[in-house]
Symmetry: C2
Subunit: 267 residues, 2 copies
């Protein structure tokens, strides 16, 4: 049996498209509905209550679209609202923290650094999960709010990007073996982060590991879309599609390969 219902993915904005891309590359026959809550982005500066409220709202939209699984492709929402989203459905719900933690434990030797939004770091989710799976590992976390603004501005390799990375990350130098990029906006900044921390520090981007977990879970539950046909990818946003496409292109570094973006009213 082939389960051709789409996978639902939501993010506070369009950063989660990096997760969409990884899932699509690994599981090309799966259809995907992506929701970017661009009218209320960012979540990383908001309170836990508000993050939960928006996340539940987004997940409800996806479930109404008939998705077979909900992927919370936003670290802030995964850190605060995963349980609340999971309570809405019997379908599997997967966040990006799990993938980041597993990838970090695979790659790390020594202490692990975690960077993310204010809300993600405040949640303490990464240190707790890392130590649940492997007690005793030292975890250093730091909120890096300006990285989001840099990535959205497309300033990933100029003087400003270097100064910001130095200001945030110099304290990690020499103390960590791996750094979890705990926000979907950070991967474009890998180069400048590496220039501060050095080549030997592994930079953990949870997108690929999350895609692997998604595939594994669907497989185990007998929910894969089988066959050679490529899945259909649709994207919805809560604010004007134009800017989403523009910022999305800047983040992904090339065309989105998504034909249309729909504006939906879920507020």
């Amino acid at each position: 049996m082939s389960d051709i219902r789409p996978i639902g993915i939501f993010d506070s904005g369009i950063g989660g498209l990096t997760v969409l891309r990884a899932i699509h590359e690994l599981l090309p026959s799966e259809s995907i509905v992506y929701l970017g809550d661009t009218a209320r982005v960012p979540y990383g500066t908001k309170s836990r209550e508000t993050i939960i409220r928006y996340s539940v709202n987004n997940a409800r939209f996806l479930l109404n679209e008939g998705v077979k699984m909900v992927v919370v492709a936003c670290n802030t929402a995964s850190a605060h609202a995963l349980e609340d989203v999971a309570r809405l459905t019997t379908n599997p719900v997967i966040g990006v923290v799990e993938g980041g933690v597993i990838a970090a434990l695979k790659e790390a030797s020594g202490a692990i650094g975690v960077i993310g939004t204010e809300a993600t770091i405040r949640s303490n989710k990464y240190p707790l999960e890392i130590n649940r799976l492997q007690p005793g590992i030292k975890v250093f976390s730091k909120a890096c709010p300006l990285f989001v603004a840099l990535a959205e501005e497309g300033w990933t390799d100029n003087e400003v990007a270097h100064a910001v990375a130095k200001e945030y990350l110099e304290e990690f130098k020499g103390t960590i073996g791996a750094l979890v990029l705990g926000c979907t906006h950070y991967p474009p900044l890998k180069g400048v982060i590496r220039s501060v921390l050095g080549e030997h520090v592994r930079l953990i981007d949870s997108a690929e590991e999350t895609a692997r977990i998604v595939g594994e879970r669907l497989e185990n539950l007998g929910m894969r879309a089988l066959g050679a046909q490529r899945g259909k990818i649709t994207m919805a946003v809560t604010d004007s599609p134009e800017r989403s496409l523009e910022v999305g292109r800047r983040l992904l570094g090339r065309d989105l390969e998504i034909s249309g973006v729909t504006l939906v009213d879920i507020l």
Copy 2:
């Protein structure tokens, strides 16, 4: 007759507290209700339609609180939604663009620069208003989205702040006589902006001029709160009050002098 109804002020977040402070200093007997829409901040990256929707929503809350005037203390909302807010009421509605334009024309010799959020610059409101009042003046505008993140992070005088200011403003050097700080988040960055542009460029912060206009308008309409009693200041936010107070303190550089902040549900 003394009109003791409060003045209503709203902003996308807590940057508008600089406007509240200016109004309170000029008109200490006026009571003020301030609403910061911290659950949906920022507006500067959102579309015109969304900015109008949120602004109308905020103004309705203030009008329900019985305010005699609505001050839109957010440049982005003033640039896009002032007419829509004005249509909700027969009470006076005042934005911050007007004050910025008047102050710039008073102070400027030669061309005027305007910086603001993406949405404020995209609206073209400042150049249009400046040229309506004084045709022929050259206006150069530029969106400076990272300035908001810098001000919120409290990085107003470090290496990063200097690098960002240089990246954005170097092109203005030698071409303008005044620069309108077209976002309530920018005043804390005055020092670093001045270090790029030089001491001779006048930096225009619309808060004081807006307070003057508010006082004049109330006076002309016979709507002043008279007497020696100090007005009551109350503040409401749409997301958790804690962070608002913290960021507010960073922005105002000292205690807010506001006793309590209420969380309101207007979403």
